[in-house]
Amino acid sequence: MTPVIEFASVTITYPGAERPALAHVDLDIGEGELVLVVGQTGSGKTTLLRAINGLVPHFTGGTLAGSVRVAGRDTSTHRPRDLADVVGIVPQDPLSSFVTDTVEEELAYGMECLGVPASTMRRRVEETLDLLGLADVRDRALLSLSGGQRQRVAIGAVLTAHPRVLVLDEPTSALDPGAAEEVLAVLQRLVHDLGITVVLAEHRLERVLEYADRVIYVPGDARPLVVGTPAEVMQASPVAPPVVRLGRLAEWTPLPLSVRDARRQARDLRERLRQRPGRAHRTVSAEPVVTVERTRASYGPVPALRGVTLDIAKGEIVALMGRNGAGKSTLLSTLVGLRRPDAGTVRIDGVDPATLTGPRLIGRIGLVPQDSTDLLQRDSVAAECADADRDAGVEPGSTAALLARIAPEIPGDAHPRDLSEGQRLVLALAVVLVATPAVLLLDEPTRGLDYPTKERLSDLLRDLAASGHAIVVATHDVELAAETATRVVVLAEGEVVADGPTAEVVVGSPLFAPQVAKVLVGPDGGDVPLTVTEVRQALAVSG
């Protein structure tokens, strides 16, 4: 197999950085491979991806020692635009990369730049529309598309140039499980039918690991990369999906990479777990702190919530799930009083949140928005903490003390933008929590978080719930829901379609079931553990 991407002792150093972001990388990627790049946040995954088409260093600055060659072209002599016909790169947020305003124009844009003849362009656009299932939305404005459609348009837009390599940075992180599967199905088709080389970085390994031919683990701090088959790399990788961690725990060989592999080896474990004691139901106080009654809300003529009724008590962690556009974010903004419902009542602690402002609002309910940087507007962590003290009307130094307790490693003089995704989230949490809100809302908190950071977040949320906060997490991340939530509420088309204890709601569902439950559920269904931690505890009890 001839390599289409060759890294020869590549060292990349950003300007002003003490250490190189990547050091002495030697890597060959062959034609038609699907390579998965994994690693913790900030480890250099994106740098590796962007070096493939020369965005690093041509666009970002810094120095690149060694050589990167793609299809025989050296990136030191070829700028990204000169590689556009061999490498297609899809950035994290597709919307920010769109140049035109409609689907068809966007698909044609790259070809126009490359000077592809009009008749060829026409043919390729039609082919791509069919290949990616976008024919129905060809005339639509890009802004009006759903998340999964946007991601597919972004893939199609680079695909029309017929590149030999497709590079994707977290293509499914913002998508609900259903839309993520659409996108992954497309990628697989490209690899299988067209022989395109796909390099993708992803945090949600449970979604992609089984499709990968090879895995590159980027350990960060310029340590050498670990490259190998998924099974080899997953033996030791600190970032690993639940199914792999379950396999390690049960000492299965070969290590299972997909639910299907694992189920074949799971019979014994299923038997052993059958005797475990039933799940101890955490008791929650009966008195609801959030009451939502027959609430309706709409955007113009489009209804977003159609009569939602919901009570949430202290100590509960509620996972709010459902596909993009199901009304999750609308419900959160209604809860925090940002929008008044068209009908129905919303009460936090017996008060209508829309009538509250300032400390009276943030003392009752706090929301960490999807992009936690929105909350952070100062240029240092310390200034941010001081602001938060003032906003909440608490003693100076309270936020800093709280932050030191939950994340002691965050330096006070750092700029919030320089923190890692996880650190920023924790800082935003501290800023919100210092006002001691009775209710804490989080919108999609695990976007861009690696497994260790996610675990820390889960621990933190459980502690908060135990100390009496009511928590609502809107998320697509079924694993997070399984780890933390005491209750799952599924929204669809603005209505509550399922509401109950986590295990009851997720186990039966093909989309919302966590991997461990999918592996361990028997033919008769029943009570199964949802997470690796639960399995470990159960095994410890039964010996």
């Binding site: 088409n53 041509h58 666009f59 700028r79 990204p80 635009r81 000169d82 556009a84 950035p91 947020d93 920010s96 990369s97 769109f98 140049v99 035109t100 305003d101 068809e104 124009e105 044609a108 844009y109 790259g110 070809m111 126009e112 730049c113 490359l114 000077g115 003849p117 009009a118 362009m121 026409r122 656009v125 039609e126 024919a135 060809r138 005339d139 802004l143 837009a157 680079v158 140039a161 903004s333 925090v336 940002l338 402002t357 300032g358 400390p359 609002l361 943030i362 706090g366 928005p369 992009d371 929105d374 909350l375 507007q377 602001d387 938060a388 906003d391 909440a392 800023v431 919100v432 006002a435």
Partner: protein, 381 residues
Amino acid sequence: MTALDVRAPDATRHRRATRLARLLHPGAWWLWAAGLAVAASRMTNPLLLLLIVAVAGYVVAARRSPSPWARSFAVFLKLGLIVIAIRVVFQAIVAAPIGTTVIFTLPALTLPEIMAGVRLGGPVTLESMVAALYDGMRLATILICVGAANSLASPARLLKAVPAALYEFGLSVVVAVTFAPQLVADLDRVRTARRLRGRSVGGVRGTAAVALPVLEGALERSVTLAAAMDSRGYGRQAERTPLARHATAAALLSALVFVVIGAYALLDASAPAALGLPMLALGFALGIAGFALAGRRSVRTRYRPDPWSWPEWGVALCGVATGATLIAMSISGVPGLIAPVDPLGWPAVPPLAVAGILISVLPAVIAPPAPGLRVRAEVSE
């Protein structure tokens, strides 16, 4: 399924088989509208101006495109009314009155000598009001012609049809248009975040605190966009000699100068008419040469360019004919284009002018029907 099936909807079934529904080349509509606007600029006769508005309105109703822009015609009509109102009020307050028929008298105020002794207020005459009304109508009609072009062919589509040399300009407009809604979304998010931290969102301090993060966000987004465009091959260029570069610049610059002089001579009735057309023609010729030279630099090709065939010729020629008729009439001093103001009188209706304007109603038939319902329904979702 080919694109043709999608683009040509059921509407064709009801027409004779040969009329394929399609969008006319945007350039044709803009030329047509420019002809009407030029015609309007040569007259103050309210009846003829109303006729031009009626013609524009009829064609828009018959052939407007299915894009959301198409609904903008009504906005331009309202804008026209506002222009007339402003013109009339301005006349009443500031300008010196014409004629003697005083309707009412405003309290007068003469500004001191240093401000040129401008007089505010004073007697308001019927003649000056009518003159202002006519003048306002002329401005409003020109505006409505632009509105007609706007709803028949969106400016975005027109920009896509510009020559390769102007491509960057067109692109920046398209990018700006898509940026605007995202800026609004950013603004919303930052204001939300301020509320979430229990701070005020109104007032000077609130606004200032919101502006910075929004700008930061916009900057970040433009860097991302630039990276994305570069990765997709934007800015690939063919090799060029310095001579070609200089020739291009010289041709384009002198073209601009000639066109400005020519247009001024043509539109200002007091300038020598002989100067106008030749200068304009020379300017356009140089411009075309310049664009052709500049276009060679770019390797880009165009996806589904709008075709230019006989309906385009027809529509454009109708507009040109209207404009040319009225210019010829005004140069040769045919009476009736300027309505009598002092003394007041009922405006005449010169038959030649009416005929010239009515030519421009033909595009309602010449142009193919706009495609549509499928697309329209989706856009309005």
